[in-house]
Point group: C2
């Protein structure tokens, strides 16, 4: 496996904790012991929770506004990729096709995950951004390390 | 002036208060004594602050992701309209044109304002949704009335 190999996500889990904040945890499958974890804002947490059917906000969220606009356009979403961490920030791309031409667009990973769940397209994460299954203690420790990480 | 007449906004003001929360205040011009006020979430506040040049988040915000996608498409944004209040919730539409056909899309007013500032298109608000200039006391009173209002 090379450092740029991607793993496809089949399990998107949300966790909210008053002390640690909102997290999204991505795994290859439900029993996988390797995780991709990132801390996300309230709005992105709400967007992903909506896409997972956990909540039903009465009004369109930001990404729903734009996706409903794009339903009127000739756009095919292909996949999203979380592909790097630089300066403590994860980076993602959204891949789409319009009029037969493929484009990639720079995105925060949280927006990319919400988009992918809405459009039912693959979420891919570079394998060396995963971590081994964390204990409660390790999660707290990790959170200290990443509390300044911006998404 | 009929009840459906719209007023064009030339002044978008943000206010954040630890007790009252985030507000966006829309006025026809800087000295106008009639206001449209709504309480908005943190993400929408950030989006409008970015569009006003008040902050520079390092990564694309949700609406920026989608607007950068749409720059690759043949979409012309025309205007946004905040046109109704129903069940304590303000309603807005985004008007756009694609391949010569005009569409309107349901939006939260906060998203519509961020989009309009980004695309430099008109913001219109139905005139009877405006309020007379409020005193500090009236703002507090108004906030009690609308604290359950969802945007």
């Amino acid at each position: 496996m090379t450092s740029t190999d991607m793993i496809q996500i089949n399990e998107v889990q949300l966790e909210s904790d008053p002390n640690r904040g909102n997290m999204v945890i991505l795994r290859e499958h439900q029993e996988a012991d390797r995780y991709f974890v990132m801390f996300i804002g309230d709005a992105e947490f709400t967007a992903i929770a909506k896409e997972k059917g956990l909540i039903q906000p009465p009004r369109p969220l930001t990404h729903e506004l734009y996706l409903s606009i794009m339903e009127k356009l000739n756009t095919e979403f292909l996949r999203v990729e979380i592909y790097d961490i630089r300066n403590d920030t994860f980076y993602a791309n959204v891949y789409l096709k319009t009029d037969g031409v493929e484009h990639s667009v720079d995105s925060r990973p949280s927006d990319a995950v919400a988009l992918a769940l809405n459009r039912r397209i693959p979420i891919l994460v570079r394998h060396d951004l995963f971590r081994r299954k964390l204990t409660e203690e390790q999660v707290k420790e990790y959170q200290d390390v990443v509390k300044t990480v911006k998404f």
